[in-house]
């Protein structure tokens, strides 16, 4: 890839070389190629983001006008005065921000553990492709359908929900997984892990297959056990793909909405709401667009570090090439 990158045109064009007509035309052509995309991005992505940031400092109405300047009040209310968003007075703390922290911790770590574990184990058997396909397929399924699938699995009716049928078979009473505030978040998180593990597995599996065989053989010849090989060789060599997958999972988890909308609607009560759900709820059903905009801005702030990492990585890559 390195040799193919053309030299950046802006980087010090030699002053002796006169700008020919052909070059000037080519400069214009470059802009012509990117202009349609830039217009769409500016109108439908950048301008709306600016509008939302501005709106977060206002109280707004159902027409989304800047009705009344309130400064930082929306943010202050969210963080200190809205138990549905953040409530530190109870134990454990609650609110959609806290729920999202739960999602970050359990969804990311378990997806990584399952994905990496499957990638490492599946490579050792002949039916690797079959296992990988089975785990990967949910990637193509809409979150709406994932929601229906798992609603059915968790059904409290022992004639429908396979999980409660199993509990019943072992003599346990059925549990309303989605109806109790102490289980609902974990039930949702597991359904989403089921849908995402395939991605982690496929990416890490490709990375594992790229590890040179000599390294493995040398380690085995030196008497290293499989466990030591996993921790001392594979994990360090996979650190880059693991970090990239983690970033992907993080962005996914900050934006998680569909599955909660379908499976619980944020309930019971407000106990399974997350940030993105609160943004939707405050803006549309609750008709407080300014307040909802503040939630959207908090989401943007949460993914900002990822944006910086991406841009940095891209730049450093260019320096190397």
């Amino acid at each position: 890839m390195s040799q193919a990158i053309p030299t950046p045109p802006v980087a010090a064009p030699p002053p002796v070389e006169p700008v020919t007509g052909r070059e000037r035309r080519s400069r214009l052509a470059g802009f012509l190629f990117i202009t349609p995309a830039l217009i769409v991005l500016a109108l439908f992505l950048v301008y709306p983001a600016y509008y939302t940031i501005r709106l977060s400092f206002y109280q707004s109405d159902f027409l989304f006008n800047f009705t009344h300047w309130v400064g930082l009040d929306n943010f202050k209310n969210l963080l200190t005065n809205d138990p549905d968003f953040l409530d530190l007075s109870t134990f454990p703390p609650s609110g959609s921000l806290v729920n999202n922290v739960r999602w970050v911790i359990f969804y990311i770590s378990l997806s990584l553990v399952f994905g990496l574990g499957l990638a490492v184990l599946a490579v050792r058997v002949r039916y690797e492709r079959a296992v990988k396909s089975i785990v990967f397929v949910p990637m193509a399924i809409a979150a709406t359908a994932v929601g229906i699938i798992w609603l059915f699995v968790y059904s409290p009716d022992i004639n429908q929900g396979v999980l409660n049928a199993l509990l019943h078979a072992f003599g346990h009473d059925p549990i309303a997984w989605l109806g109790r505030d102490d289980t609902v978040n974990y039930a949702l998180i597991f359904a989403y892990i089921w849908a995402s593990t395939g991605f982690v597995m496929v990416v890490l599996s490709a990375a594992i297959k790229g590890i040179p065989a000599e390294i493995m053989e040398a380690a085995r010849a030196d008497g290293a056990g499989e466990w030591a090989i996993f921790w001392r060789i594979m994990v360090p060599m996979l650190s880059l793909p693991i970090s990239i997958v983690t970033i992907w999972l993080f962005i996914n988890v900050i934006k998680v909405f569909d599955i909660i909308y379908v499976m619980t609607g944020g309930g019971p009560g407000t106990s399974s709401r997350v940030i993105a759900f609160t943004m939707y709820y405050e803006t549309f059903p609750n008709l407080k667009p300014g307040y909802g905009a503040a939630v959207a801005v908090i989401m943007l702030i949460l993914v900002l570090p990822v944006m910086i990492v991406n841009v940095r990585r891209f730049r450093s890559e260019r320096v190397i090439t």
């Binding site: 802006v10 052509a29 509008y51 050792r124 399924i141 793909p241 959207a296 943007l300 260019r318």
Partner: protein
């Protein structure tokens, strides 16, 4: 270079070695098969349910459907006709096809500009687009809804109903473009420089180079972004919910299915059939083009 994959399967030499190998590997097989079952059961359960009559669904678990064959297509008929899922399926398609082709076209044009046509501030603009890749949809919903109302991009024009979808097409295009430009530019840049220089020497214009050389050589990359965008738009709930839920006749399946849930409670004979109608097309696309999908995933994550 030999890789780990090729080195993994070691042929056992003797019978006793084979026995030892079998015993030590049993837990491995057990774990992998258990995981496969856990990953399959939820989907299979719902699939079987979608073919069972409602009376059976209410009186016995789907696993009984495996031994007592009494299957029917009636659930599909009901959701397609009585619940309007057939219409919603068409809406999903009307939304998805332009919302896939538009970012693919604009993205390819821009990516070619970034890869092969020098112009001022090229790298700065490209970095800005990389940065836009992770902007959450939530930051655009409200202003876009207002914009679409003001510019009448969510109502039919000239008696053509499809014009009502212009707004959501453009919104999906804007959200797909940064990834499209990023993936395609990274692919275009790996094309042989000599080929493109030679064409230019022969007097080919930039657009001719784009159309005759770059596009035909980039089918895998175009396909992988196309699949991503197709799956993303078809499976999207949030944007459709915000931009289209006001008009029931324009709702796609993802918006329509949760309504089933809220009107009737969990009626699984309808929900299961609707869910599989929703999953059908993406699964076909996915299996037919899985190779490109995985290539795109790896290009977008590992290699970058």
């Amino acid at each position: 270079m030999a890789t780990y994959e090729q080195a993994a399967p070691l042929a056992p030499a003797s019978r006793s070695e084979r026995a030892v190998r079998f015993v030590t590997r049993t837990p491995l097989h057990f774990v992998l098969i258990a995981v496969s079952v856990i990953w399959l059961v939820p989907t299979v359960g719902l699939l079987i349910t979608s073919f069972r009559p409602n009376s059976d669904i209410l009186s016995s678990g789907w696993w009984n459907g495996l031994t007592h064959w009494h299957w029917t297509l009636a659930n599909y008929g009901t959701v397609i006709h009585a619940n309007g899922m057939g219409h919603a399926w068409l809406n999903s398609l009307i939304i998805t096809i332009p919302a896939t082709l538009l970012p693919l076209t604009l993205g390819a044009l821009a990516a070619f500009g970034f890869a092969w046509v020098p112009f001022p501030f090229r790298d700065t603009i490209f970095l800005a687009i990389v940065a836009l890749m992770i902007v959450p949809i939530q930051t655009s919903l409200v202003p876009l809804l207002k914009l679409f109302r003001q510019w009448h991009l969510s109502t039919p024009h000239f008696g053509i109903g499809a014009f009502a979808f212009v707004g959501i097409w453009l919104a999906h295009t804007a959200f797909g473009l940064p990834l499209a430009i990023f993936l395609l530019r990274n692919f275009f840049i790996t094309l042989p420089k000599d080929l493109i220089e030679a064409a230019r020497m022969d007097g080919a214009s930039n657009f001719a180079v784009f159309r005759r050389i770059v596009i035909p050589l980039s089918v895998p990359a175009l396909a992988s972004f196309g699949i991503f965008q197709f799956l993303w738009v078809w499976n999207d709930l949030l944007m459709a919910l915000i931009f289209l839920s006001g008009e029931p006749s324009r709702q796609p399946m993802t918006v329509r299915i949760p309504y089933l849930l809220s009107t009737y409670g969990p009626e699984y004979h309808l929900l299961s059939a609707a869910a599989f109608l929703l999953m059908g097309l993406p699964l076909i696309v996915f299996f037919a083009l899985q190779r490109y999908f995985v290539q795109g995933l790896l290009a977008g994550s590992v290699k970058s």
